[in-house]
Subunit: 139 residues, 4 copies
């Protein structure tokens, strides 16, 4: 007998670990649930911008990935997703020690899934919101 | 006597070198002109996604930075820009050996600058287009 | 003695009534609260697209306006807002009899306000989500 | 013998004429070419916002439609497109007497087409730029 949530968790983790970029920025999969994935990343000296805050690309990386994996939780085994498009609005400086992105599915579909993500600082301040479209592809 | 284009180039390079993220992903400032900045980055084993292509965050990083620096070229000395929002549409797999982002200013303003960027592979294939808003801030 | 919520409601209604486009599409201000505005519009024969559903421009019109007015509720008297940018993801056919847009403020600021809106059909189905930036201007 | 460009023009015009919204705002198909469509609309008293400029929904309507029809020119007969998502950056007040939107295809695909549009005033000033995704559907 398999635990469906354990299976889901393992499936997302396997894909996550193949993303070298996630390792480069120190990102970690925090939580996997049906339609919702949370990813955390430290604000490292190696991922800052010119003012010393986390680079928008770090915020984007975990926002986009959390949203993509959220979409993937609602797709059958053997699928992957790619980002068709995503938009980020940056709300506050991305200061450390870490950022947490919470990706959610707004609408899951066979051709397209519409997703959002919120990225917050350790103190709870919202740093960015994202809204995008994921496309399912055969893995 | 100063060469205005040399001054501009130096100003953008100084800011660019402060972005640790650019160093982490191996990005390099390729060209600085009034209203147009080009940035190149290799597709490194450390910046890929689960299928082995460059991660969307790499494409985003150089697209966003090229657009931001393009905006900065039209602002007075002593200013920096931050991204208010930016949207990326991904068009083709981001394969190497390298990607080049060309950022351009569509409208420069005191409060907001509207910018675009195109990211292309070495073979010229367009990988992504971005459209966003930069906000000038005192450096 | 003035009722602050009545004052707010009157201020938003006055601006709304100046928007001829809202009248043209039959839109109506449904609810005004701090940081949240709801607008309703019928799906008229005059506002459809080629398949007989409401045109994306109708969905956009009430989504954008609800988000803009939500931003305005948090600004001082004597101000207006203009849309700097907004993105819409369309999720389902916009069938009638009517659509309701709920605009909300994610972050209110002196220079920029970040907003969202959800547009739903009478049966509750989400038709579109929007995410954008409003700029305060002197009225 | 058929003129392929006349066939294309007729096909786009037939779909355009079914969009009641285009008639409501007074929009007119100006030019149809492979991968590029231009639409014009007057700034009518019935389509303004609270400051007397064209409402963002008017600018959006012709921007979105020009981009969608541009995508349609590259698809086989018997297809229509729907907007999956589109983002608009507004650059300048949309004053009359008229606005012209020029939609172009950046990448045409069987599942998704990526498109842009530029909307300009009669004096040539750019009013808005749009970037979005169209989905082909069977008509």
């Amino acid at each position: 007998m398999t635990d469906p949530s354990a299976e889901l968790d393992a499936r997302i983790r396997t894909s996550f670990q193949k993303q070298a970029m996630m390792d480069t920025i120190g990102a970690e999969l925090l939580e996997v649930a049906q339609g919702c994935v949370r990813i955390r990343a430290p604000v490292l000296p190696s991922t800052t911008q010119q003012q010393g805050f986390a680079h928008a690309a770090l915020t984007f990386a975990i926002g986009d990935s959390s949203a993509g994996y959220a979409a993937l939780t609602l797709l059958p085994k053997g699928m992957e997703v790619v980002t068709a498009e995503i938009k980020i609005n940056l709300l506050a400086p991305a200061t450390g020690p870490e950022l947490v992105a919470t990706g959610r599915v707004v609408k899951s579909g066979k051709r397209l899934s519409v997703v959002t993500s919120e990225v917050a600082r350790s103190d709870g301040t919202l740093v960015a919101i994202l809204q995008g479209t994921m496309v399912p592809v055969v893995a």
